[in-house]
Symmetry: C2
Subunit: 417 residues, 2 copies
């Protein structure tokens, strides 16, 4: 028999298997990031990967709708795989109105986007993120940025840069320039500023009807600056916005320091639902954003009917792993117990039980391998100790222990293990 053709042996396009060394790298990320979120009082949630399509579509712009894995069930219901966790969280909060506000929730789970797979872009991937629901203060903004910064550091991206902007600032600027009618095309152009040369970004705007001189002005006005300068800059556009950012800067200065933050008016984020602060996170030399988020004060009302301020961030876990170079974590076996025949089996399981209850991982020979074969096997899978219980050892109430790391061998009485 020939088995599956090659392409069916691999996961579906744009998805990946997590065999043990990869899984434990992922698990390490889950542990580290969860610990950060928990330490800030966030509590974890999980929702179905399958959602009502209507619920997904309510948030998604057309671009995202095209990326939804969509299907009908046999009862004709329109379903889809979630493309983020903000939607399921908003849905769950729409019937959980008694959860005290602010709500601090986080997640570490799979989301799905039917996108063209490429470096750092999977069709099934993990997101870690938090949602802070029910507060509109600058301290809330600062807390979310604080958790983001601590998450990146804890994951090993100590050289993170978070580029911050505010949708209200961009809108004020467009208003001042009399360009509010061109908001969509200008957002689209700004979104490309990190990827394309000046000429092309300007061209996106002019081809959308923005006069050339104004398009150039917008390009130049949306340059990056230290976050410390943002408050003054924003005050010129809007007094209260400036005051909000003056506080935010003070808060961040006291918590994370300002070194990892920049203000960058070209950060607008593709998705349509942001209403205030928006940001993207970068890790060292890694080109793609490893995370992003912002404030979406109108989104929850779409689901619950109740106006509720909220913000959050999501980190692309595979990208972050890529950025910090975390690919494999080996989990060697602690003990392998070899016996020559059934006579020693009760002794082997008794020893194994003892070691397991002390927290060790222990495998007992299944009865097919010679000692030589067993030895080759445990070297391949990675093992710390080999325990041998032979006839002589059995009679004397001892086991032979081979330390595969130190390359030593010694005997130990069974009752001293």
């Amino acid at each position: 028999m020939s088995g599956l053709p090659d392409h069916l042996r691999r996961p579906p396009r744009g998805m990946r298997d997590w065999l043990p060394p990869q899984f434990y790298a992922l698990k390490h990320m889950e542990d580290v990031l969860s610990r950060v979120a928990e330490s800030f009082g966030y509590r974890r949630v999980e929702m179905p990967v399958v959602e009502h399509f209507e619920v997904l579509a309510k948030k998604a712009g057309q671009e995202v709708i095209n990326e939804i894995y969509y299907f009908k069930d046999k009862a004709g219901r329109d379903l889809g795989l979630r493309f983020d966790m903000t939607v399921p969280v908003a849905r769950a909060l729409s019937y959980s109105l008694d959860v005290p506000r602010p709500v601090r929730w986080y997640y570490f789970t799979k989301v799905f986007r039917y996108d063209e797979p490429q470096h750092g872009r999977y069709r099934e991937f993990y997101q870690f993120g938090i949602e802070l629901v029910g507060s509109s203060t600058p301290r809330a903004d600062a807390e979310v940025l604080h958790v983001l910064a601590d998450s990146l550091s804890a994951a090993g991206a100590v050289d993170y840069v978070v580029k911050i902007n505010d949708r209200r600032a961009v809108d004020k600027m467009l208003e001042a320039l009399g360009l509010s009618a061109y908001r969509d095309v200008i957002y689209r152009a700004l979104d490309k500023k990190l990827k394309l040369p000046r000429e092309e970004v300007v061209a996106v705007m002019t081809s959308g009807g923005v006069p050339r001189d104004k398009a150039e002005k917008i390009y130049d006005m949306t340059s990056e600056m230290p976050l410390q300068e943002a408050a003054d800059h924003l005050t010129r556009l809007d007094q209260s916005l400036g005051a909000h950012y003056a506080k935010l800067v003070k808060y961040l200065d006291a918590s994370t320091g300002l070194g990892g933050f920049r203000f960058d008016m070209s950060i607008v984020r593709g998705l349509d639902y942001y209403t205030g602060i928006v940001f993207e996170a970068f890790a060292g030399e890694y080109k793609l954003a490893v995370g992003g988020g912002g404030r979406y004060d109108d989104l929850l009302e779409l689901y619950s009917g109740i106006k509720t301020p909220a913000l959050g961030f999501a980190i692309g876990v595979e990208r972050l792993m890529e950025a910090v170079g975390l690919h494999n974590v080996e989990k060697p076996l602690d003990y392998y117990i070899y016996i020559f025949d059934d006579e020693a089996y009760p002794q082997a399981v008794a020893v194994a039980k003892k070691l397991r209850s002390a927290g060790f991982s222990v495998a007992v020979e299944l009865g097919e391998k010679s000692l030589k074969e067993a030895f080759e096997y445990i070297l391949k899978i990675g093992t710390r100790y080999l325990i041998i219980i032979g006839k002589k050892e059995l009679e004397r109430g001892v086991v032979k222990i081979r330390d595969l790391q130190k390359r030593e061998e010694y005997e130990k009485p069974i009752n001293e293990l």
Copy 2:
């Protein structure tokens, strides 16, 4: 605005949201069960929830195929949501031929079945399970049953009963009775023996063409017995089968004891691919099986083209939680820090940082609540300590700590925290 209609606020039919108290109950199960699997040297894997439909269909019988969430992607690929983890594991092993055998893998993850939702039956649910690939010895069978028994005990189902049978035994019996041609209908009938009265089970067989006297004989021959008696019973059907079970009984006697095991020739398991031992696990008074598994020595060849003995089990996590009465685990906040104004913010984040790095969960007031409101909030979410840093405390370098459990209040110098 009115928000979503009620049915769209809830998860899709047959699926569920895991809000924090439910999530931490699930997480407890994940931790406990993973620890058992790891202690036996099993290593965790995860695969995409989306699979090639062809890969899924290769294992599934028609019954299961009808339960697959099926869809086409935009490139016309036939895809489906996995209905178990044995299939993705078999697929992954088909290109991982260099992983040393035996392979010990486990999983704790979501699977999907488009079934009629009812008590204990979800359309999206968690399975914990192991696969032991590459061994056909009775010790391998014993190890898998050992891990199953320890998993059930560790999860709190100390009164588990695992009902064991062997497909080869049933086939030998049918051969002896000259009924091999009626295998399918007899398997179908036996599968109902735990649920239907004798008359109806016999009727399933007779309506399939089995003579009435033989149908009754089969019913009576497939009664439950202590596992100790299985070897003798099987020896009468087949010498080598009897010898296999004599060893299995000896192994289990040495490891878990035999109290939790029964031999029951009516256990056949619906799925078609089992080739040897099959079993189902029950927990206390809970009616439905909480887990099951068996040996499938022909399955991996369908994927890899290479004959590979294997067996495993899967536990339905939601059912096991139901059976042991685990529904909610509360995770109270350790510290809530209240400050009256921005002046104390740097102090608050410094205290929070200290406590977080000591492993505590700490939330800092976001600046919207009065002390009274904050107090009501932290009582609702569940909090151990309230820390208050007011003007006076700030001047004296102390914080006020209210222990909400002991209902005490005291002061502490900040540098002694």
